[in-house]
């Protein structure tokens, strides 16, 4: 595996399988009384979060701590970042502190790539602008594999504001790589015109797609999109593309409902629907920790020289 995880395209299908398999072991660790292993003892993991995201940050923090790593949280409120310190200077400071891995979430697409120019440690993309969110896609794949056991030929719809969604990109790339059948569903203004070149299909009719799905994955729709006039109103969006109580009936038995969170109940998903047993959002969150442990372990567990280390 590469030294960094910036995009799903950094991983081969084999790499992805490995990450999921190792995550299995870490999930087991999570069932023990002592949910900790010494694997990354002495390593320093920095959470560099320019965007507020308590849940993702906590997930990474727990993952690092359960690996016995030291964790530093560098968030933007009231710090030197807010005072206008450049990304470069922040990076050099972290470098000087000896960060082995930097988990970065930033509102600018490509910020993790920029970061790799100034730090020696591993960089893990926790979400950059509208580009990618690879760890989310991986925990989604893990959840799907656990519930449905396969990817090949699996029919998945990703519904909503694909244009502005980093989750949609990572997940589409990952599912296509693993052989699934992906359809993007949403209003034409919110689906990139070049999306078919990703290896996916596009539909503007959710009702037509639902009956033939194994997984219905919903994206968050921001109210801002109405202000920017991508859609006439949020109400119209919800009527045409929201997963309502009525629509859920169109899904086949056993189909999963997924969402990266946080949900806009009543917009892309009705409240009752979010609480159905086939809606697996909570599992997604749980699996997030195991996946992030797996990634930190795989990124930092190597890095020495070929032939070093011991056999027994």
């Amino acid at each position: 595996m590469n030294k960094h995880l910036l995009s799903i395209n950094d991983l081969s299908a084999g790499d992805i399988v490995r990450i999921l398999d190792v995550a299995e072991s870490f999930r087991e660790v999570g069932t023990r009384v002592i949910k900790k292993v010494p694997a990354l003892r002495g390593r320093t993991v920095v959470n560099l979060f320019y965007e507020n995201s308590t849940r993702t940050r906590i997930s990474f923090e727990l993952a690092a701590k359960r690996l016995s790593a030291d964790v530093i949280n560098f968030t933007t409120s009231g710090t030197s970042v807010a005072k206008g310190e450049s990304l470069k200077d922040t990076a050099l400071t972290l470098q000087a502190m000896g960060a082995d891995a930097i988990v970065i979430r930033h509102s600018s697409s490509g910020a993790p790539y920029t970061l790799t120019r100034w730090v020696r440690g591993s960089v893990l993309n926790a979400g950059d602008g509208t580009h990618e969110h690879p760890t989310q896609a991986l925990l989604d794949l893990y959840t799907i594999r656990e519930r449905l056991g396969r990817f090949g030929g699996l029919r998945v719809a990703i519904c909503g504001d694909v244009l502005h969604s980093r989750v949609a990109r990572s997940l589409s790339f990952a599912l296509v790589k693993m052989g699934a059948d992906v359809t993007l569903v949403g209003p034409p203004t919110l689906i990139p015109p070049d999306a078919p070149a990703w290896g996916v299909q596009v539909s503007f009719d959710l009702d037509a797609v639902l009956p033939k799905l194994d997984v219905c994955y919903l994206l968050r729709v921001q109210r801002e999109r109405q202000r920017q006039q991508y859609v006439p109103s949020v109400r119209e969006y919800a009527r045409l593309f929201g997963l309502t109580r009525e629509r859920v009936g169109l899904l086949p038995e056993g189909a999963l409902i997924m969402h990266p969170g946080p949900m806009n109940r009543g917009v892309e998903i009705d409240s009752d629907v979010a609480d159905l047993p086939q809606a697996v959002m909570e599992e997604q969150v749980t699996n997030g920790i195991a996946i992030r442990m797996s990634l930190l372990y795989l990124l930092l567990g190597g890095g020495g020289s070929e032939g070093a280390g011991l056999d027994d």
Partner: protein, 178 residues
């Protein structure tokens, strides 16, 4: 490349039988006894020992498998993070006598890691160690309680254990490293 067979299938089976007897003798029966095999192959051996113990004593001894990858002392030293296998210990180890089972005892670091992992699961009354082959060259103060075969080797040799469950045959080879 030189490869010498150290043990054949029959010799392995006899060693397992003898070790099972020794475990029972030393612990005066199977009371409070559990077997934990160190992945990989240690768990296959642990299951064989459990079967022998049941055959000899009529007692069912719990068997668990322990992967020690996350407890190794050389993480980050290799080019790639090492492979991880399953860990499953479905029983309470507090107050038990845990017999750790591994195929080859060499530097002792694997067993050290296994003991670290084990104490995260609980507090055994005692930990004992059973190995199929002890090839010498200890780097830590670790010794086996039960040994199938003592086989002095050179540092530049490899001891390769093949078991039917994983490799399709039962044999132990000593090979020159290429």
């Amino acid at each position: 490349m030189g490869s010498v067979r150290l043990l054949d299938g029959a010799e392995i089976r006899r060693a397992v039988t003898r070790i099972a007897h020794e475990i029972l003798e030393r612990n005066k029966g199977a009371q409070r006894l559990v077997l934990v095999g160190i992945a990989a192959r240690g768990d296959d051996l642990a299951r064989r020992l459990a079967a022998e113990i049941e055959r000899i004593e009529g007692a069912r001894v719990p068997v668990g498998v322990l992967d020690i990858t996350f407890y190794r002392d050389d993480i980050g030293m290799r080019a790639e993070a090492p492979e991880v296998h399953e860990t499953r210990i479905d029983f309470d180890i507090n107050g038990t006598t845990v017999v750790l089972v591994d195929d080859v005892l060499f530097s002792g670091r694997t067993v050290r890691a296994a003991m670290d992992a084990l104490v995260d699961f609980g507090r055994p009354a005692a930990i004992q160690l059973a190995v199929l082959v002890d090839r010498g060259h200890r780097e830590l103060p670790i010794r086996a309680d039960f040994v199938g075969k003592n086989a002095p080797t050179r540092r530049d040799e490899d001891v390769r254990v093949a078991l039917i469950e994983t490799d399709g045959e039962d044999a132990v080879y000593v090979e020159e490293r290429p």
